[in-house]
Amino acid sequence: MLAWVVPAMALLLVAPYVIDPFQTLTLTYGLIAAIAALGFNLLLGYTGLLSFGHSAFFGGGAYTVAFLVKYLKLASMELFLAGSVLVAAILSVLFGYVCVRYTRIFFGILTLALSQVLWSLAFKFFWVTGGTDGLRIPTPTLLGMAPSDDKMEFLAHHYYYYVLAVFAICVVLMWVIVHSPFGKALQAIRDNEIRAEFIGIRIRRYRLIAFVISGIFTGVAGALWAPLNGLASPDILVWTFSGEIVFMTVLGGFRTFVGPIVGAIAFTYLKTYAVGFTVYWQLLLGTVLVVLVLALPTGIMGAVERLASKIKKSG
């Protein structure tokens, strides 16, 4: 495990000095998506629940930042993060209370429907949310330090390290959660709901807690995304954005812990290059993704694991 973590972390630490600022921005987007996917996968990979409504928490986090800027004139990133945790927790308790009573397709459809309610609110109440124009988000202060004048320098350097730090904290937290007795109980529920109930696990309560943790992680990702994007608009609340979170997780491999992280970064790069390459980027991206899923049914990390075990056997 450490053999992977140390080099990966070292690469991420030196990245802004090696790659150009535009690349660093893409990587920042990737790390933010990774936090969202990590949260999402607590439900899919560990609890066995496929949510199609995680855009609600991501968008909830981003709009929290926008509202704190617009109505409370705040500029501190730490306050933004705290606010988004609170809002994502409230949203996920409300959504989860309804959704965890169901599983499988019913759960997916309910999460989808509820997230669309949030989207239509952002869309219709334009005097509060700015409608399709969205709300502008200026560069925040990081740990009380005012942002530098050069916005590109700020985002590709200071903000990158800030995101990297939050990402590292989130990875450690999620690692502990999925390896805790609670995480084991979630996996038991995923594998066999009835048996889990008959060893004394109250499955609805556990699903709700997993749902809330998952929502908070994704909300934090949304809050980090807002200043980077500079704008919170209803796009991130639409169900297709939920679909992207599902996709990056499946692409990386939802059966492994690092799968969603790898998938999120890979997906972000694929999307960035597809957009730059052609105006028909969705077509190109779609094709690439279909081929990837057919070629790597267990995701990137599943394929890597198979390859590693093959090398081990032959070596």
């Binding site: 502990v176 959660i177 390896h179 805790s180 007795p181 609670f182 995480g183 084991k184 109980a185 996996q187 038991a188 995923r190 594998d191 066999n192 009835i194 048996r195 889990a196 109930e197 008959f198 060893i199 004394g200 696990i201 109250r202 556990y206 807690i209 943790i213």
Partner: protein, 263 residues
């Protein structure tokens, strides 16, 4: 002393009276066999007592407390555990994990999310001890979905046993296992539960197993209790031989009478 008493317990599925006003008693410390042909209501009775099904009417009294309206969770905490006829395990977790989950649950530790499960050495030591007793230590690190059927049947019982229940229901612990493997499984199971002072109700089809391992036998037929007694009493009970083996010329006349032999 009576550990479990059901009073006029009833459950119907449509027109089918699966459990028909059953008065069923389990005494402290005994190994009781619940037998009967397919569809006699044995599993339904266990489902009612364990909380998987809600009864239409009647009472379930466990240790002098009415548990009829309690959730499965509350009944497990009170000391009622069960295994399943069709193996029910956490297939993508290791055998050790399967057992450890029962122990974590028993000790109310499953809500801990800020500590690593692997750090709780006492739990893992106990999990390995349980696996050793059931002869499964070799499989500790294997995924539960990958071991043999016989081992899965044992693990299924071990998962319920690790809850340290007062009353344990085993729903066909040897179903789908070859005749040669049945006795070793039953030897392991009965010796472990006896040593643990656990009261056991075994649902079983194999008559050799039933007569060899149980102290008392309750026979169910068409949702009601047909007979209740020691293995010797049951062996000599005409109604039982008629309905279970089906040699009685008039058939129907033997039905309807409930619980006579052992009382």
């Amino acid at each position: 002393m009576d550990l479990l008493v059901t009073q006029a317990l009833a459950k119907s599925f449509g027109d089918n009276r699966a459990v028909d006003r059953v008065d069923f008693t389990v005494r402290q410390g005994e190994v009781l066999a619940l037998i009967g042909s397919n569809g006699a209501g044995k599993t339904s009775l266990v489902n009612l007592v364990s909380g998987l099904l809600r009864p239409d009417s009647g009472q379930i009294i466990f240790e002098n407390n009415d548990v009829t309206r309690q959730s499965p969770y509350e009944r497990i905490k009170a000391g009622i555990a069960r295994s399943f006829q069709i193996v029910n395990l956490f297939d993508q977790l290791s055998c050790a994990d399967n057992i450890a989950l029962s122990i974590f649950s028993r000790e109310d530790k499953t809500l801990k999310l800020a500590t690593l499960a692997s750090r709780d050495h006492a739990v893992w030591a106990e999990a390995h001890d349980v696996l050793r007793r059931f002869g499964l230590e070799r499989a500790a690190m294997l995924l539960a979905g990958t071991i043999s059927h016989g081992e899965r049947k044992l693990l299924d019982v071990a998962v319920a046993y690790a809850l340290k229940p007062k009353l344990l229901f085993l729903d066909e612990p040897t179903s789908g296992v070859s005749t040669r493997e049945k006795a070793p499984i039953m030897d392991i199971v009965t010796s472990i539960v006896r040593a643990g002072g656990i009261t056991v109700v075994i649902i079983e089809h194999d008559m050799d197993i039933v007569f060899r391992y149980s102290e008392r036998i309750v026979v169910m037929h068409q949702g009601a209790i047909l007979a209740d007694g020691t293995p010797d009493q049951i062996r000599q009970n005409d109604a039982v031989t008629t309905t279970l083996i089906g040699t009685h010329p008039t058939g129907e006349s033997a039905y309807g009478s409930t619980g006579s032999a052992g009382r």
